[in-house]
């Protein structure tokens, strides 16, 4: 391959097409400069018809910018590592991404708490000797809390205490998520509540995608299985997905639920667009939306 690509390196016009003409890492000490130069290089060249002119280490050596193949590749690697790190940094510093990550942590926490509670309650209901259920599970009281308050020091009691403190930490996490979501999606948080808005955002993937969704999709967001079984086997369509968690939807009578969730989703779609394109709270819109949703429930 060596001989094939060294042809035409003396061409004056071509030199400016190579990345190493504009940003050679050794010459520019400052890393920020480097990435800026590089992005400028990308902007100048991307979309152009420079495909036939691919760089090669032979070209770099013949222009005298580096001495050998290894030097060329380590420089290229350095630039690409900068580029990758910069991309990651931009991604990681986005509020939206952080909120979605927090929601994933919340989901894991919830799952862990409920799975562990289930097993412990089952163990608890078995009693000490496994003969007769000593503590039948009653509704409305929390055996975990009760066991945690006991003064035993066996593993299960300690685990119950951890679970109780875990629930407190979870509440803290929810508070954190709520404040973040209220900042990020002020209008939709106001309509459906910050936690539901954040869940919907996770389901949608990104604020951009979310804000461009039709209301009908928002209405059934989170009811994927029901929707697909409707589409493939003709079972009744889902009336609501995650927005069921909004109090006006699940408090409405069965007959009116469809209407309420439809109105709610329609208003949410508008709110999301305000959130994405304006980013500030619109009080007059919120008031009107509230009236519309209330009217639908009556």
């Amino acid at each position: 391959m060596d001989s094939k690509h060294s042809d035409g390196t003396g061409d004056q016009k071509r030199t400016s097409h190579y990345w190493f003409d504009e940003c050679w890492p050794g010459e520019k000490a400052d890393s920020c400069d480097l990435t800026q130069l590089y992005s400028g290089f990308i902007a100048n060249n991307a979309g152009g018809d420079n495909f036939s002119i691919l760089p090669s280490w032979q070209d770099a050596v013949s222009t005298g910018i580096c001495n050998n193949k290894d030097e060329y590749y380590s420089a290229l690697r350095e630039i690409c590592m900068f580029w990758s790190r910069e991309k990651l940094q931009i991604y990681n510093s986005s509020e939206e991404v952080r909120l979605i990550k927090l929601m994933r942590i919340l989901r894991e926490t919830d799952q862990m708490i409920s799975r562990l509670s289930e097993q412990i309650i089952f163990w608890h209901s078995m009693g000490e000797n496994g003969s007769e259920p000593e503590h039948p599970v009653k509704k409305g009281h929390d055996p975990i809390r009760e066991m945690a308050s006991g003064n035993g020091s066996d593993g299960i009691t300690l685990l119950c205490r951890s679970l109780v403190s875990m629930k407190e930490s979870r509440a803290g996490l929810v508070r954190d998520i709520s404040t973040r979501c209220e900042k990020l999606l002020p209008n939709s948080s106001n309509i459906v509540g910050p936690l539901v808005a954040a869940r919907l955002l996770v389901e949608a993937g990104s604020i951009k995608d979310f804000s461009q969704m039709p209301a009908s999709k928002i209405q059934v967001l989170g009811a994927r299985n029901a929707l697909f079984s409707h589409l493939s086997s003709g079972s009744p369509p889902p009336k609501h997905g995650l927005i069921f968690e909004h109090k006006r939807v699940h408090a409405a009578s069965r007959r009116k639920r469809g209407r309420v969730s439809r109105t709610l989703a329609a208003n949410l779609a508008i709110a999301l667009r305000i959130d994405y394109y304006r980013g500030i709270k619109d009080v007059t819109f919120l008031e009107r939306a509230r009236l519309r949703i209330e009217k639908a429930g009556r």
Binding site: M1, K4, H5, H17, Y18, W19, F41, I42, N45, A46, G47, G48, N50, F51, S52, L54, P55, S56, W57, Y73, S74, L76, R77, I79, C80, M81, W83, S84, R85, K87, L88, Y91, N92
Partner: protein
């Protein structure tokens, strides 16, 4: 990473291809363009054999792991760009001897064809066709036939298809060669 590692065919599709006996040779001086590098498992193994690997990956989460692999293997060049838009990274990538593609997208074949200009004449393309990503309802064999004819129209020859069903369901490895002009 120790001096010897197992390259399990269940985890890596390329390993499965070699286990089934139809993988092309990789030489120590080869340059390889790897599209869809993900978290860098297969990339790290290829880097053991090849000269330079350009690892293209757009998703940020696998990219973190890929960068960790890059810190160990000095001959991997990470490229955080979309393989469907080769113009973005075209200024950085030299002409390569082999293109390996493992991307779960509907337009897998189109992406492969778009990246062909990086391949030198006579170079190899290994396309791991995820038939279920192309169409979840169509028969995998039909999807594969369409892909092969699309590749034939795009200056590729000597196409051999290996089904990796033993290790990876509904995956076909398409190995082909760019025509010499």
């Amino acid at each position: 990473m120790g001096s010897l590692r197992v390259w399990p065919p269940e985890r890596s599709k390329l390993a499965a291809l070699y286990y089934l006996g139809s993988g092309p040779e990789i030489n120590a001086t080869d340059q390889i363009l790897y599209l869809g590098a993900a978290s860098g498992t297969t990339v790290s193994f290829i880097a053991d054999y090849a000269g330079v690997v350009y690892a293209v990956e757009i998703a940020p989460e696998p990219l973190v792991k890929l960068l960790q692999v890059c810190c160990v293997k000095k001959n991997i060049i990470p490229i955080p760009a979309d393989a469907a838009i080769p113009t973005i990274y075209a200024p950085l990538v030299s002409r390569v001897d082999l293109i390996y593609q493992d991307i779960a997208q509907k337009e897998q074949v189109e992406i492969a064809l778009m990246n062909l200009f990086f391949l030198k004449p006579g170079g190899m393309l290994i396309l791991m066709l995820k038939t279920r990503s192309v169409s979840s309802q169509q028969e995998p064999e039909l999807v594969c036939c369409d892909a092969v004819s699309a590749l034939q129209n795009g200056e590729l020859d000597e196409i051999t298809v290996t089904w990796l069903d033993k290790y990876h369901r509904d995956h076909a490895a398409i190995v082909c060669k760019k025509r010499n002009y």
